[in-house]
């Protein structure tokens, strides 16, 4: 919990990691990819305040104690949600797997939620593994990379029949939340990996599932916003937005937040630190203090304490059924959603 000026913020970090990218874990023959990947992540960290930068060595592999201190002790987070990324073709034991996350998390009851992942192209075997993971770790969400290669297939669409089979199975198993990585990506090389229209279709056909588009579809915020404004069960995952822009590019951050509040609305935006890329502490403290920097932004929806409470934790708590202490809840009447009608589209319109 974070407390500022008498206000109490319940914090859910809905997108964070516990990875091992140390050289000992690099797959022989694929070292350049393993190295390039983690250095690329490390460059993202440089967009945060200098005092929070880590050495590359520390960044490659941080310890359980580091994580507990950075995220919970110093970082104000109440509940953190692990999002796995296997990458076993580059990292021998995987980069950040469901099992590694759970093994660590089980030592700290109540602190973590373990999401898992699936790939519809894995067929029956993949379904079995999904069932096993949900059974063993109680997963309520999955993280999907639709652009990933698999056995000669260059990515898939969430709207493919094979993906629908998995979404149906996931729903039956009690999965509620589908986190989709639509953002900076490598593969497939020749296709439009940023296209979000498949999320649009799946969201319409699975109204009881929630689709959280991570990194708000960067570099295509506009396509994402246009889709999210029409689909009640599509959410904006703010990982990268706060971490990558709030400190380094405050003016662009204000514009992006303004657009998201306008098109998507404060009830459908969730905070994620993307730890270990960025520590949550400065992001949460900075966001609680944040407002538009000037009158230039007067046509965007306003931001108040209720807006921030929702984004930092209450929205994600609702998605995951996390109990929020009474002192952190909003009174029933507080906060009006940032609906498009509340703001003028363009000054003078």
């Amino acid at each position: 919990m974070y407390e500022k000026d008498g206000e109490k913020y319940f914090v859910v970090d809905s997108h964070m990691h516990y990875w091992d990218a140390s050289p000992e874990n690099w797959v022989p023959g694929a070292e350049q990819y393993a190295k390039g990947w983690i250095e690329c992540f490390h460059a993202y960290q440089s967009l945060g305040p200098p005092a929070t930068h880590w050495s590359l060595e520390h960044f490659q592999k941080y310890s359980e104690d580091d994580l507990m201190k950075d995220v919970f002790e110093d970082g104000h987070v109440d509940v953190a949600i692990f999002q796995p990324t296997d990458l076993k073709e580059w990292y021998t034991e995987g980069f950040n797997t469901t099992a590694r996350n759970a093994e660590m998390g089980k030592k700290h009851p109540g602190k973590f939620i373990y999401n898992t992942n699936f790939d519809p192209r894995d067929g029956d075997l993949g379904l079995e593994e999904l069932k096993r993971n949900v059974g063993e770790y109680g997963c309520k969400g999955v993280k999907l990379y639709t652009a990933e290669w698999n056995n000669g297939s260059r990515g898939y669409k969430l709207s493919d029949p094979g993906a629908y089979r998995f979404l149906e199975a996931a729903q039956e198993l009690g999965i509620k939340n589908i986190h989709v990585h639509k953002g900076p990506t490598i593969w497939p090389l020749d296709k439009d990996a940023f296209d979000v229209s498949d999320v649009d279709h799946a969201a319409t056909d699975f109204p009881d599932l929630n689709f959280i588009v991570e990194h708000v579809g960067l570099p295509r915020i506009e396509d994402f916003c246009f889709m999210a404004t029409q689909e009640p069960n599509v959410y904006a995952g703010l990982s990268v937005v706060i971490g990558g822009l709030m400190f380094a590019r405050p003016k662009f951050f204000a514009k992006v937040m303004g657009e998201l509040l306008f098109w998507v609305g404060e009830d459908k935006m969730t905070f994620g630190s993307d730890y270990g890329i960025w520590e949550p502490k400065w992001q949460i403290e900075g966001f609680v203090d944040w407002d538009y920097p000037s009158d230039e932004f007067s046509d965007f929806p306003r931001v108040n304490t209720a807006t921030k409470k929702k984004i930092l934790g209450l929205n994600a708590a609702k998605l995951y059924g996390i109990e929020v202490p009474a002192e952190c809840q909003l009174p029933a009447e507080a906060g009006t959603p940032g609906a498009p009608d509340d703001a003028q589209l363009v000054a003078g319109a």
Binding site: G36, P49, D190
Partner: protein, 256 residues
């Protein structure tokens, strides 16, 4: 043999003795190459790490990107476009463009040098060429440019619903307007003085007055997306390389 001429130390567009282009001309040619995703010249973005031309007309250009894993399709387009721009300069007898420190450097550099096209350069990993991707992002550039041109008009009191009445010729000249017209022309969209100011970038159809507000909202959103993305790329590039690129400028960047 004399050492290659560094671009910065050899400004001036006039061909030098023997018809070999000067460094300024080389850099000017590279400035016509844009990052298709960000719609900015590769020079000002800082992606040109060196550009030299030898007295006997061999041009050599080295490019760099913000990360090892920047999208290879966009990277390929930039290397290929840079090659075409440099090779077309009068007096250049041989051009070499090299992308350094990228996971697909070998495939891209080899493919561009062999004029192999994208699909052949990534044999088995890609089936299509990149025209559609380029056009898609060009349409985004048109939308972002529409915001740049229309924002001052709205600020000076013109109502959004009145903008569909205007033509490109009705708008006071500005660099943003020139750029918008160039992007529209590249896509084969109406770009003449009598063409409507607001058009659908996919079809070229004029925007109706009652749809103008939404169209302008989309235009603003698209510009925000492009600029925010560009700012992240610049930040990553600065982390990776502590030197300025040839022709790089830091205009429009905010200090943290």
């Amino acid at each position: 043999m004399t050492a290659p001429v560094r671009v910065r130390r050899q400004p001036g567009d006039a061909p030098r003795a023997g018809g070999v282009p000067g460094g300024g001309a080389l850099l000017a040619a590279l400035a016509t190459v844009r990052d298709p995703e960000l719609d900015e010249p590769i020079t000002t973005l800082g992606f040109v790490s060196s550009a030299t031309v030898s007295p006997d007309g061999k041009a050599q250009v080295h490019l760099r990107l913000p990360t090892y894993f920047c999208a290879p399709n966009f990277a390929f387009l930039m290397v290929a476009d840079a090659y075409d721009a440099v090779a077309a300069l009068p007096g250049v007898r041989r051009a070499e463009v090299v992308l350094d420190e990228h996971f697909a450097s070998a495939a891209i550099n080899g493919g561009v040098a062999a004029h192999a096209g994208f699909a052949r350069s990534f044999d088995g990993e890609a089936v299509g060429e990149l025209h559609d991707l380029r056009a898609d992002f060009l349409r985004k550039a048109v939308m972002a440019g529409t915001d740049q041109v229309c924002r001052p008009l709205l600020a000076s009191g013109t109502a959004a619903a009145a903008l569909p009445e205007l033509t490109l010729g009705d708008v006071p000249p500005s660099p943003a307007l020139t750029r918008l017209r160039e992007r529209r022309a590249e896509l084969g969209l109406p770009a003449g003085a009598s063409a409507p100011l607001l058009i659908d970038p996919a079809t070229g159809a004029p925007v109706a007055p009652d749809a103008a507000g939404l169209h302008l909202g989309r235009a603003r959103l698209t510009r925000t997306s492009l600029e925010a993305n560009g700012s992240i790329c610049r930040g990553m590039l600065r982390h990776r390389y502590d030197s300025s690129g040839e022709g790089q400028h830091h205009q429009g960047e905010e200090a943290p």
